[in-house]
């Protein structure tokens, strides 16, 4: 193969170094003169053909080729392209092609698209068309050349001039032809595929050498591609093709190179040898590493645009990769690089709430300046200044900060700044223990429930509410009733302002009792004249609304520190002064006062302490006189009241929770008082249950043991023994008394045994000693022994037999003291009397034990006793 300069339009990235320029392929001279020049081929309008994309088949860009971008208008002006469609038959095969025995059809892979054609036209504004020469692969190198040329042909998308192409002419067919396309007639109408001969398709690697590579074409091409003849438009296609590829690492540099080539400042020099030519496309080591990385990732660098990640601003400068050398860009408009979206810091509720309390780490001034500069760059127009640790740390958690821009920006910067300085944590500032103690004391932490803290109120107010609630829940004196539940008017209210629970209970109670009429209790309390008498009221109160009661009872909040009672009369007089009172309550109070007197008014009197804003009027303004006066806590006078009747079950409802907690406090505060229905209201907290007169309790099964009571004879039945309480009638009705081991320990039984020992046992002894022997059955029989003789003979005595003998001897009954009967509820008791009781076997047993007589029970009795 004759040496020729190959012009390979390579789509692969070029070496950014200058060596690339040196190794830049140049357009070679046409192989024959007949072949059209490459430029001619390029500039000629060709049908659509898909340009060659492979780098190996791309034609080398000539040195004089113009690199860069050109517009179609320019090309048209220059005459490179014409807007008129070229009437070229696709199937028209050029006849003047040499060295083409067979018609070759352009490879599909070599077909071009419209875009590619346009690009080629743009690249070749002169309109020169350089058809792809046919390949005549004779050698390997020739095969390569053919393939390259074919690629060039297709990439160019122009019909090579067979005569003028340096690479040879296409004789067989237009490389831009699309054999698959249906033939068209002169009118560019599709022709039905007739029985046209099927064209043979040749491979790319054809050994036939195309005419494009004929020496004549090459020579012609060389003439054309001389630096004088090379136009920028000739290489426009190549340049455009090359620009479509994935730009190299230094795309700008490459773009500059291309532009230089197009502008003609740099002339692409064709490679002399294909191997050397191909070697020039090797990447440099610097790029190789980059490519290797990309290869590792599996990405095709040639087909993708590398995305260079913009380093985030948060990363410290030290950790950031070495920034590229800032290249001075002469362009007026810097590349519009989309700034990396700053990741918006996720701000939690806790962050927002504690932003004010956060202590900003102190930053050194140098770093601060650096941060500031960065901030200025990123956030134009803002030059925040780090705020010193404000007093917000001591702020209460409940309060909300006033939202201002400064705070917002400060928050943002506070959030951002630490992120930037994540690596450098400010050391905690140590303070002295005294300071710590001072801070500790200065802390004002508010504890409360979630509902309290979540309320949009000042912490001071919240604290006041909490304190008021505590005071209201303080122990109030228990409620005492003066009469059965029917007499409702005995109740009174003392300090509902301090007892919300009681107020609630009273409310329910009073609501139920509103409709009933009851007589007031006649009990009187000294020192407290009847309010009804003072007011001249009688009968139950009517006309009062329940809602007023509820309202009055619910919203009363005591004021801390004020323990004095309020006189309702004074309140009424001082109505214009107490402007904080609700008007509604005043009207209701008046109505109630004007109406029938009832103990409920006392409730309302306590409700006077209501205020719209929750505060209570000073109690000092209320005198202690009047019917609604209640004893103050610190009053020295403590009237004594008679104990009410104990059968007051409802009173316990009023003294439930407030009385339960710490009743000890009641003694220190108010004394329990009893209400006189007619005279004065009794503070409901002071009403206590009386100890006497308890409610009727269920009858006891076993009466309590009586101290010093006489011995009670217990019957011999196990049932009676279990109950421990036997009637005298039970003694005879019950069977024989069976002694058990537990009986000996019973004090009553022992006492009773002592009585028997004193009364019955001697008699038994006398009778036994006086016993006589029974008559013998026969004379040969030995004389039977008497009971005494048997006892003296140490014979085991049968208890039942002895008891029966004793009964037969006249000792059937025994005198014993009668049981002092105690009826239910500790009523009357019978006097002790002597009663005759039938002699029991257990008595005999006791006698036997007392007299060291070996006695035994009968077998049946013994076993029956075991079963009991």
């Amino acid at each position: 193969m004759s040496a020729f300069d190959l012009v390979i339009l390579s789509s692969s990235p070029r070496d950014p170094t200058d060596s690339r320029k040196a190794n830049r392929p140049k357009y070679g001279e046409p192989s024959s003169d007949d072949l059209p020049s490459l430029f001619e081929v390029i500039h000629q309008t060709k049908p659509k053909k898909t340009p060659l994309r492979s780098g190996s088949q791309a034609a080398q860009i000539p040195d004089d080729a113009i690199t860069g971008f050109t517009s179609v208008a320019k090309l048209v002006k220059d005459g490179v392209y014409t807007l008129k469609p070229k009437e070229v038959d696709v199937w028209e095969v050029p006849s003047d092609t040499e060295n083409t025995n067979t018609k070759r059809k352009p490879d599909r892979s070599q077909k071009r698209t419209k875009k590619q054609n346009l690009k080629v036209q743009e690249a070749n504004p002169n309109g020169e068309y350089h058809p792809r020469p046919k390949r005549v692969p004779k050698r390997k190198s020739d095969e390569c050349n053919d393939s390259v040329l074919k690629g060039v042909e297709l990439s160019l998308g122009t019909e090579l001039d067979k005569t003028a192409t340096p690479l040879g002419t296409i004789e067989d067919h237009d490389p831009l032809e699309r054999p698959d396309l249906p033939p068209r007639d002169a009118n560019d109408n599709k022709m039905k595929p007739s029985s046209r001969p099927r064209k043979e398709r040749r491979r790319k690697s054809s050994r036939e050498r195309s005419e494009y590579f004929s020496p004549a074409a090459i020579q012609a091409h060389s003439r054309r591609t001389s630096p004088e003849n090379i136009n920028t438009a000739d290489l426009s296609r190549a340049v455009s093709r090359k620009s479509n590829w994935t730009p190299p690492k230094h795309s700008e540099l490459q773009g500059d190179v291309d532009r230089d080539i197009l502008s003609g400042s740099v002339s692409p020099r064709p490679a002399t040898d294909i191997s050397s030519f191909l070697d020039r496309f090797a990447y440099a080591e610097a790029d190789a590493t980059v490519l290797s990385k990309s290869d590792v990732g599996g990405e095709a660098l040639t087909k993708r645009r590398r995305i260079e990640l913009v380093q985030p601003l948060n990363t410290p400068v030290s950790e950031s990769p070495p920034a590229p050398v800032p290249v001075p860009i002469p362009e007026p408009k810097p590349p519009q690089v989309a700034p990396a979206k700053k990741k918006k810091g996720v701000r939690t509720i806790t962050e927002i709430a504690t932003a004010h309390y956060r202590l900003e780490p102190e930053q050194p001034p140098i770093e601060q300046a650096a941060m500031q500069s960065i901030c200025n760059v990123l956030q134009a127009g803002q030059n925040p200044e780090p705020k010193p640790p404000s007093k917000a740390t001591k702020r209460k958690k409940t309060g909300k900060l006033p939202k201002t821009n400064a705070t917002i920006t400060s928050k943002r910067k506070k959030n951002t700044e630490p992120k930037k300085k994540a690596t450098k944590v400010a050391k905690p500032k140590l303070v002295s223990p005294k300071t710590v103690a001072e801070r500790l004391h200065q802390q004002n932490i508010l504890f409360g429930t979630a509902s309290q803290l979540a309320a949009d109120e000042s912490p001071t107010f919240t604290r006041q509410i909490i304190q008021a609630m505590r005071e209201s829940e303080r122990d109030a004196p228990p409620v005492r009733r003066t009469s059965p539940p029917k007499s409702r008017f005995r109740r009174s209210v003392s300090g509902p302002s301090r007892n919300l629970w009681a107020a609630g209970a009273r409310e329910n109670e009073y609501d139920a009792d509103m409709s009933l009429e009851e007589e007031p209790v006649s009990t009187k309390v000294s020192g407290f004249p009847s309010w009804s008498e003072s007011l001249g009221l009688s009968g139950p109160r009517r006309g009062s609304s329940e809602a007023d009661l509820k309202q009055n009872t619910q919203t009363s909040l005591p004021k801390s520190g004020e323990d004095e009672w309020v006189d309702i009369d004074r309140l009424m007089r001082d109505e214009p002064q107490t402007t904080s009172m609700d008007s509604k309550t005043d009207t209701s109070l008046r109505e109630s006062l004007a109406g029938a007197g009832s103990s409920n008014i006392g409730l309302k009197s306590s409700a006077i302490t209501i205020s719209s804003d929750g505060t209570t009027p000073p109690r000092s303004s209320i005198s202690s006189e009047g019917p609604f006066a209640f004893p103050s806590r610190h009053s020295s006078v403590r009237p004594t009241y008679p104990r009410p009747d104990a059968h007051l079950s409802q009173a316990r409802l009023l003294s439930t929770s407030p009385a339960k907690k710490g009743r000890g406090r009641l003694n220190n505060t108010t004394e329990a008082t009893i209400v006189n229905d007619e005279d004065v209201f009794l503070p409901i907290e002071d009403i206590c249950d009386s100890e006497e007169g308890s409610t009727p309790s269920p009858p006891r099964r076993n009466p309590p043991p009586k101290k010093g009571a006489e011995l009670q004879l217990v019957s011999g039945s196990a049932a009676g023994r279990q109950t421990g309480y036997l009637q005298p009638a039970d003694v005879e009705a019950v069977g024989e008394f069976v002694l058990t081991t537990t009986e000996g320990t019973d004090a009553a039984f022992l006492k009773w045994v002592d009585h028997l020992r004193a009364t019955l046992f001697p008699e038994i002894t006398r009778r036994v000693k006086a016993s006589t022997a029974p008559e013998r059955d026969t004379e040969d029989d030995p004389r039977p022994f008497s009971w005494h003789e048997r006892i003296m003979m140490y014979e085991p005595i049968i208890i039942e037999d002895l008891a029966d003998w004793l009964r037969d001897e006249g000792l059937a009954k025994a005198e014993m003291p009668a049981e002092a009967q105690t009826g239910p509820y500790g009523s009357q008791r019978q006097a002790a009397k002597l009663k005759e009781v039938k002699l029991k076997a257990w008595m005999v047993q006791k006698w036997c034990e007392e007299r060291s007589v070996c006695c035994i029970w009968r077998e049946k009795q013994r076993w029956n006793r075991k079963q009991l």
Partner: protein
């Protein structure tokens, strides 16, 4: 022997000594057992103690040590066991069982009311604690309390310690004053004879000091004890002869004593021939006790002989009578290899009395014995007497391997042991 009744016997009598005349044993009531005791068993390997009762201590000891028949002490780790203390003198098996139970459960027995009853522990079936402690001093202390309890104080019980340590400990406990619980003047001590020191109220009447223990058949090792009635043989014979003499009158009531009545007793001392009715003599003794401050008693304990003026224990007096009244059944032992059935009274070995020389039981004799035993059982049931066997919750397994010794005149007929060892005797 002259005057002594002869009893027919089915056994050979090599000595050809006269046997007491047979009586209608159906009318013989429960006689006094020749020997029954409550013992305190102590393990030599540990400090475990056990209270039991037996008519034969030697045999019972062997049973505890592995021969079988003792469930509570069948463990080998605590063997061998030894009886360190015995309480003898029980007149009947019932009495011994009652005492045994009370000794085992001092806190539960009704017979010690002054002791506080412990509360039952919580549980489904709460059982009160039987005793406060299971140590030796506690057992001795409880024993002393029981001996002074009203239910046992007038029983002829004698405490016999078997070891020097127990002797010392018991002496120290016995000398202590009972305090407020002391109600009686009797003081039981390791002696066979109590000598009254004089009349008086509580705490007086008897010498508390240690007296010379006369040689008795219950002195010395248990293995050498003669548990039969042989020591009573002289007294019984003398009394029998005296009673059989016509014209013998009661020393108390001067009534003519009929030998067939079998209700006369005689002085067991020496050659005294004093004879009296049992009732009269007992009442005489009770009167003497009342003079000594023992008022209101029905069981005499001690008295002076009207003939010789010497003191004699009532137990000795009536034991002879019981022997004479038992007849052949009282003399002979139980049938060999046969289970006792209800109604049989305690038999007294004839050998002890020296009246019967039983070597082997012939078949004829066995039939007679069996007939007598069955008669006794029937009568016992009719009369309402509780059978000894019925009181036994867990009768001893009588196998053919266990064969009682042959009845011999020289051998003591032993009443079977109490099989109800350690059981809850609910006799009251």
């Amino acid at each position: 022997m002259v005057g002594l009744p002869t009893f027919p016997t089915r056994v050979n009598n090599p000595s050809k000594q006269p046997i007491m005349p047979a009586m209608n044993v159906s009318k013989v009531q429960n006689p006094i057992v020749p020997f029954y005791c409550c013992y305190l068993l102590q393990s030599t390997m540990s400090n475990l103690l056990y209270v039991g009762s037996t008519p034969h201590p030697r045999r019972r000891t062997d049973q505890h040590n592995g021969e079988g028949g003792a469930e509570r002490t069948k463990s080998d780790k605590n063997r061998p066991w030894e009886m360190v203390l015995l309480v003898t003198g029980f007149p009947s098996k019932h009495a011994a069982l009652q005492f045994e139970w009370a000794w085992q459960h001092p806190l539960l027995t009704r017979l010690l009311p002054h002791l506080p009853t412990p509360p039952p522990p919580p549980g489904k079936h709460p059982k009160p604690k039987p005793r406060t402690s299971f140590s030796l001093p506690s057992y001795l202390h409880d024993l002393r309390l029981l001996l002074h309890a009203p239910a046992f104080r007038r029983w002829p019980l004698v405490v016999r310690p078997q070891t020097p340590l127990l002797t010392t400990q018991w002496a120290s406990i016995a000398r202590k004053r009972l305090g407020k619980h002391q109600q009686y003047a009797w003081e039981v001590f390791a002696r066979d004879r109590r000598v009254p020191t004089g009349g008086g109220a509580t705490g007086a009447g008897w010498d508390v000091g240690v007296e010379v223990v006369e040689k008795t058949h219950l002195v010395g090792p248990i293995d050498k004890w003669d548990l039969s009635l042989a020591p009573l043989a002289p007294a019984v014979e003398k009394t029998t002869q005296r009673i059989s003499t016509p014209g013998t009158r009661c020393a108390v009531c001067a009534r003519e004593i009929n030998a067939k009545d079998h209700d006369a007793v005689g002085c067991p001392r020496g050659e005294c021939t004093m004879v009296a009715c049992v009732g009269c003599l007992g009442r005489r003794f009770l009167e003497e006790g009342e003079r000594r401050g023992e008022g209101g008693e029905v069981v005499p304990r001690w008295g002076e002989c009207l003939g010789c003026g010497e003191g004699m224990d009532w137990e000795e007096v009536v034991r002879g009578l019981s022997v004479r009244r038992g007849g052949e059944t009282a003399v002979r032992g139980r049938g060999r290899g046969k289970k006792w059935k209800g109604g049989e009274s305690a038999l007294v070995g004839a050998e002890s009395v020296g009246l019967v020389d039983v070597e082997e039981d012939s078949e004829d004799d066995m039939e007679g014995i069996q007939e007598m035993q069955s008669n006794l059982a029937a009568e016992a049931n009719d009369d309402g007497f509780l059978d000894i066997e019925d009181l036994q919750s867990s009768p001893l397994p009588r196998t053919d391997t266990h064969t009682p010794p042959k009845a011999k005149l020289n051998d003591a007929m032993v009443i079977p042991d109490s099989q109800d060892e350690g059981s809850d005797i609910s006799w009251m």
